[in-house]
Symmetry: C2
Subunit: 177 residues, 2 copies
Amino acid sequence: MITTAVYIGTSLDGFIAKKDGNIDWLVKFESPEIGESYMQFMRNIDVHVIGRNTFDKVLTFDPWPFEKKVFVLSTTLNDLPNHLKQKVEIISMAPREVLKYLSDLGFSNIYIDGAKVIQHFLQEDCVDELIITRIPVLLGDGIPLFGLLDQALSFKHEGTLVFQNGLVKSHYKRAGN
Amino acid sequence: MITTAVYIGTSLDGFIAKKDGNIDWLVKFESPEIGESYMQFMRNIDVHVIGRNTFDKVLTFDPWPFEKKVFVLSTTLNDLPNHLKQKVEIISMAPREVLKYLSDLGFSNIYIDGAKVIQHFLQEDCVDELIITRIPVLLGDGIPLFGLLDQALSFKHEGTLVFQNGLVKSHYKRAGN
């Protein structure tokens, strides 16, 4: 049994970053309380699947922030820095193939991250859990979390947590349509 | 002192209706609890400002659902059905002119409704309160609640209420940027 989860923050109008990738407007809401909530989620996942853009962004962080294995979905990335060759693998597959591949490797709880990857997985109905934290800002423009879907997807609300600084985290599980 | 409020339901991906205006996916979540929450909001407003599309939709309801006076923002609508001439007025003004006009008429709590009108008022930073109820569905396509803005707008979280059927209502007030 393999499950996929999205854990992400968005503006009230659904953007995860400004057009240029800037997330300062979001980062300024970080707090110990929110950090603990994220760590709690991270303890339950055993692998990351991210896109090329997210990978490029994370590469600028020092040190490398992920403890668990990371799979980068990319058709153009060919090589990795030496210090990441044990920690990162480049793959190029459709969502259901990714799930089969990771399941065969023994993984069971996948953290899906990056707008394009999330949209691609949702389009194929391959997201089991959505944990969305709303930041009390209308950004007005930027990189949208969600894209168009061929079919509507129903979710079941599992719980909502309000942080002291006004962020609202809601947890949803995929439900039958 | 005049204040404007938006009270609206949206899908998790930010749509208030399907492309054709259909809101069955939303209406099926109606409940006494949600109705009471809406009535509580309605008791505090004294006038509606809606757009042409919302007006056309409401015209199909029987009986006319609004107790309070309704102003329809439209540049193309010229006439009203006889039974509405006391209840509805057509105006064609920019958001700040609307506020001045309604304030001069003695109104103080405006309910702003309809996607285009909401977007227009937000673009001019003329929305004081946002009360957004998230329906646990990714609609995938439709009429978006929010549009592009020239500037980001910060809000302060005032409270969040989770309804028994999984809808999450969050109340925000405009805060300094």
